[in-house]
């Protein structure tokens, strides 16, 4: 039987210098080819296997990261299927970015334990391991497996069930309306239908939007400090981390490499990189640092752009503003203890209102923290309210939302309600799979969720 590719991060999330994304399935190498280009120009799908390829991961035409891809051919791989393993730089943002690209190229998210499950089904694991799974299940079965497989307890489940029941009532009304044409059942007006479906979609949208914020709280986000040399990036880093780690000098550009630090700030976890000042330089070592800084900037989920308030904006500053355009950026005007010479409105126009800070004295630090939390959306983040916890849940949620948006589109263009119903049914199915109430493939595979992701 044909096995479509699945993918997941196979290394522990968020720590370590290297992350590995495993793609497994009949079309794994085609999927890998769609998001990874070897420097040698070879196609991974032409590879005989058991080779490592150096290249770049791409999101469409946009490079994401340099990486190494290992190719294994069925049946001699961990899962017994064709496998591509992309090893990229560690850090949540990059890893998630590549993973999402892999999904958009045709792989489905591997549920927890899926690789092991496939390995077992393909005869790569012996029965004793399968037996241990059996034991596990029967142990849980004794206690009532209903509860055991109710993937998510509490708020998310409640939220999804609530959204789903509004959709089910729409579906039920549509059903009664067609099944009893003689009972003059009121037609649900398309406006009313649209309202219910749109509001369900909006609720899912909120959950999806919270996904990133949720990640910031549970797993952490990558943040980069950028700015031209000597605007006080290292001082800021020290302020945030509370240590004297970066070398702070009055001479331009001594931070020659990227320094990374994980800090907890009002409940969210930031992995902050203090980057070398971005400027044109002839110094070879520094040039390398500058290059890394640019890359770090590319990868970061949030950017702290630092400007020197005591001098007018330079071309370099403006280049940085341009670089940050359209990204999640917090502009910071440092050295507020000195006389202000800067024209803030230029920053404001592109990046929004900056935080005024004296990294040296620490004045403005509270405002900085407020702004960071606001930027991450964790400001009012209620950890007890519904939150999507995994990429699989996010995808189910997204699938449901897409179906609902298509239902709304169908209503808007005047399609008949049977077509609208198909989309609503799809959304209901996706949501039931999210909560584990439906025995779709995705939920069935949860049986192996006792293993850690990837293995």
């Amino acid at each position: 039987m044909k096995k479509d590719a699945v993918a997941a991060v196979a290394t522990p999330v968020g720590t370590g210098g290297v992350s590995m994304i495993r793609i497994s399935g009949d079309n794994a190498l085609e999927v890998a080819d769609a998001c990874f280009r070897t420097f040698s120009g070879e196609k991974l799908s032409d590879s005989p296997g058991y080779r490592a390829y150096y290249g770049k991961a791409f999101d469409g035409e946009k490079p994401i990261d340099e990486a190494v891809c290992l190719v294994f051919r069925a049946p001699h791989s961990y899962t017994g299927e064709d496998v591509a393993e992309i090893s990229c730089h560690g850090g949540i943002f990059i890893t998630q970015k590549i993973l999402q690209t892999v999904f958009s190229c045709g792989a489905s998210p591997a549920a927890p334990g899926e690789f092991t499950k496939r390995a077992f089904l393909n005869g790569k694991l012996d029965l004793s391991k399968a037996e241990s799974v059996m034991t596990l299940i029967s142990a849980r079965g004794e206690q009532g497996a209903n509860a055991a497989f109710n993937l998510l307890e509490g708020s998310l489940n409640k939220k999804i069930t609530e959204i789903n029941s509004s959709l089910v009532s729409v579906a039920a009304h549509l059903a009664a309306w067609v099944d009893y044409p003689d009972e003059d059942i009121e037609e649900l007006g398309s406006a009313q239908l649209e309202k219910t479906i749109s509001s369900a979609s909006a609720e899912l949208g909120k959950l999806l939007a919270r996904f990133d914020s949720g990640m910031a709280i549970t797993a952490g986000v990558d943040a980069a400090i950028v700015g031209k040399p000597n605007v006080g990036k290292s001082t800021l880093m020290n302020l945030l981390t509370g240590t004297e780690r970066s070398i702070v000098t009055e001479v331009e550009g001594p931070t020659r490499d990227v320094i990374e630090e994980t800090v907890e700030l009002r409940g969210c976890i930031l992995r902050i990189s203090d980057t070398a000042g971005i400027r044109d330089t002839e110094d070879k070592v520094e040039k390398l640092g500058v290059e890394r800084s640019r890359k770090k900037l590319e990868r970061a989920a949030v950017v702290f752009a630092v400007f020197d308030g005591s001098s007018p904006l330079s071309d370099e500053d403006e280049a940085i503003i341009e670089m940050c355009r359209g990204r999640k950026t917090l502009p910071i005007v440092n050295k507020s203890d000195l006389k202000s010479e800067i024209n803030i409105s230029v920053i404001e126009d592109t990046l929004g209102s900056p935080v005024m800070l004296s990294a040296k004295s620490g004045s403005g630090f509270d405002e900085l923290c407020d702004s960071i939390v606001k930027l991450l959306g964790t400001e009012d983040f209620d950890t007890t309210s519904a939150m999507l916890a995994t990429e699989r849940q996010r995808l189910c949620c997204e699938k449901a939302k897409q179906s609902l948006d298509e239902a709304v589109a169908a209503l808007k263009c005047g399609m008949t309600n049977d077509a609208v119903g198909v989309c609503v049914d799809d959304a209901i199915t996706a949501l039931l799979e999210l909560t584990g109430q439906r025995a779709g493939e995705a939920v069935l595979n949860e049986v192996f969720s006792k293993f850690c992701v990837g293995k």
């Binding site: 005869g123 059996m134 044409p181 049977d418």
Partner: protein, 625 residues
């Protein structure tokens, strides 16, 4: 004194809608077949509404026809009025419904059975059934002994039938015919899980006594579409129907007399159909509703009897008359027959498989109301499948199991044998997850190849079917290649339909895709349009217009298939599988699902139980290697 009469390959008990299809299918597939009925003058009787089809039931009839059954053709031959219901609600839920001349339909069916080669139609009440030496032995009331390799039970409401009208009750079959009083006992003795269901029917009134000036008239459709894809009969409208409404007074009369209803007084144990409630049920359950619609339907061309759809009741005769007379137009209605409720024996369908053979009784099949369903069309659909499978069993062939994703018949049977039913099961479009694929208009495209393979579709008919497919393909090709240039005329039309005008040429297929447009509207702009039958344009238009949605639904089917291909062995003892919850073990042992997909639909079997089964299967497979 007992005497041996004859041995058949297949014996069908009952000549209602299930028995007819079962007998015909079996005989047409070459098996010697007996069909027994208690009363020979009412073969294929319609003891309730004189109509065939309706929401989702129309789908069933067209599927029966596509597979080579008789109901669609017989309905076409005896139609009084035809309508497509749910027009404007989308092609997935369009349903064909026809008023039928009840007497003529019954005569037509009786004659069809009489003429059928390999088939013997007989009036006889079967009073005993036994399995002796691998062969079924049937005994009639007159003590004739018949033998058969396979028996199909299609006993309808005759089996242990008991009629209730208010506080009066007596043993009876439908329409005053004799009940099958003793067979139920024999089945219970054999150990079949027999239980009691009930159903009901309204009064009939004489046309002369109705004031039509107070009623809304309802005509048939202008473009009449026959049930049968064979095109054997040209159907036209002969008689109209009428609509009346109940009012506050009707409600008052009924509520005042509720204590005289045997249902509410608890005298009837049988479970009634939730989805086809009596008027007193409707009034109690939907108190806020001011009025209920009553359809007044002709029973035939040669009778003045009119059927009052929506007024089925088990209240006493005097109360029935009283509430009928509260309805404008029926103030002086003369009732010719009283409404009644009928209670009967039927089986728990969980005891059978999707081929409609009982798990523990080889060669014993059930169909129709005996299996717990309600409705002529549901009965005929099961009769067809039971007849086909009895014949296939006699010939040593694999049984035919229709998939849920491929037909309403498959959905109906899967629901019965997987989920069971706690009240008479009525088909509804909402029972199918795949409505957009399982339309009534494409039943032939879905099922005629299967009908052909089984052997119920003639060469001539199959040839015609293949031609239709070719025409559809050619027309699709044509509209994709035809470009319509922008012009004032077309843009005027487009704007008037509230859709965007053309600035450059557009593919005809893209214009047809627009929900605001259709084939008719585009006729004047489509110079190369060939002369084709209406149904070809219909198929092409639906395929084009709903393409994206159809694809979406197909993806749902594909996902379900991944579970359906994982077969479960029939003899599997689920009590021995570690990890299954107790309830799941019991249900699985009872239903004995054929595959994981079916198992996942059993109520009481959770996703976690399914996972346990999957692992068990994989483990077994590995052990075998």
């Amino acid at each position: 004194m007992e005497y041996f009469a004859k041995k058949y390959q297949v014996a069908v008990i009952g000549a209602g809608h299930a028995g007819i299809e079962a007998g015909l299918a079996s005989a047409r597939l070459g098996c010697s077949t007996a069909v027994f009925t208690i009363y020979l003058d009412w073969v294929g009787n319609m003891p309730c509404n004189p109509s065939i089809g309706g929401t989702s039931k129309g789908h069933l009839v067209r599927e029966i026809d596509a597979l080579g059954g008789e109901m669609g053709i017989a309905a076409d031959a005896n139609t009084l009025q035809s309508r497509i219901l749910n027009l404007g609600k989308g092609p997935a839920v369009h349903s064909l419904r026809a008023q039928i001349d009840r007497r003529a339909y019954s005569d037509y069916m009786k004659h069809t059975l009489e003429k059928q080669e390999n088939l013997d139609l007989m009036q006889a009440e079967i009073v005993d059934i036994e399995r002796i030496d691998g062969c079924w032995r049937l005994k009639t009331k007159l003590e004739a002994i018949f033998e058969a390799e396979c028996v199909i039970l299609a006993t309808g409401t005759f089996l242990g039938g008991r009629v209730y009208v208010g506080d009066v009750s007596y043993e009876s079959g439908p329409d005053g015919m004799f009940p099958a009083a003793r067979l139920g006992e024999a089945l219970r003795r054999m150990g079949l899980p027999i239980r009691r269901f009930k159903t009901g029917t309204p009064s009939r009134v004489n046309r002369r006594s109705v004031d039509f000036s107070a009623l809304e008239i309802q005509h048939g459709d202008e473009r009449v579409i026959p049930f049968s894809f064979s095109g054997k009969y040209i159907v036209s409208n002969k008689l109209p129907c009428y609509i009346a409404y109940t009012n506050e007074e009707t409600k008052r009369v009924i509520l005042e007399n509720m204590d005289r209803s045997p249902l509410y007084a608890g005298k009837i144990d049988g479970k009634g159909p939730r989805y086809c409630p009596s008027i007193e049920d409707k009034i109690v359950r939907f108190k806020e509703k001011e009025r209920h619609q009553i359809f007044i339907e002709p029973c035939g061309e040669n009778t003045e009897e009119l059927y009052l759809q929506g007024l089925s009741s088990s209240l006493p005769e005097d109360v029935q008359l009283k509430f009928i007379h509260t309805i404008p137009g029926l103030e002086h209605a003369h009732a010719m027959r009283a409404a009644y409720a009928i209670e009967y024996d039927c089986v728990d369908p969980l005891a059978m498989r999707a081929d409609l053979e009982f798990n523990d009784y080889p060669g014993l099949f059930g169909a129709g109301q005996f299996n717990g369903s309600s409705g002529y069309e549901e009965a005929a659909a099961q009769g067809l499948v039971a007849g086909i499978n009895a014949a296939r069993k006699c010939k040593g062939l694999q049984p035919l199991v229709l998939e849920r994703s491929g037909s309403y018949i498959g959905t109906l049977i899967d629901d019965l044998v997987t989920k069971g039913c706690s009240d008479p099961y009525r088909m509804m479009t909402s029972r199918s997850e795949y409505r957009l694929l399982l339309r009534q208009d494409n039943a032939d495209r879905r099922l005629t190849p299967t009908g052909r393979e089984i052997g119920l579709i003639s060469d001539e008919r199959y040839e015609k079917f293949l031609q239709k497919l070719e025409l559809i393909a050619a027309e699709k090709e044509r509209i994709r290649k035809t470009f319509i240039p922008p012009s004032d005329e077309i843009n005027k039309m487009l704007v008037s339909r509230e859709t965007s005008p053309l600035s450059t040429g557009a593919r005809l297929s893209d214009l047809i895709k627009r929900p605001q447009l259709n084939y008719d509207l585009l006729a004047t702009f489509d110079d190369t349009r060939p002369e084709l039958p209406y149904e070809i344009f219909e198929q092409v238009e639906i395929d084009e217009k709903y393409e994206g949605y159809i694809r979406r639904q197909q993806a749902q089917v594909d996902e379900m298939h991944r579970l359906e291909v994982k077969k479960l062995p029939m003899e599997l003892d689920y009590s021995g599988i570690a990890g299954l919850r107790l309830e799941a073990r019991e249900k699985l042992n009872l239903v004995r699902p054929q595959n994981i997909g079916q198992a996942s639909r059993i109520s009481g079997v959770s996703p976690s139980d399914i996972s346990v089964l999957l692992i068990y299967l994989e483990k077994e497979e590995r052990n075998d290697k």
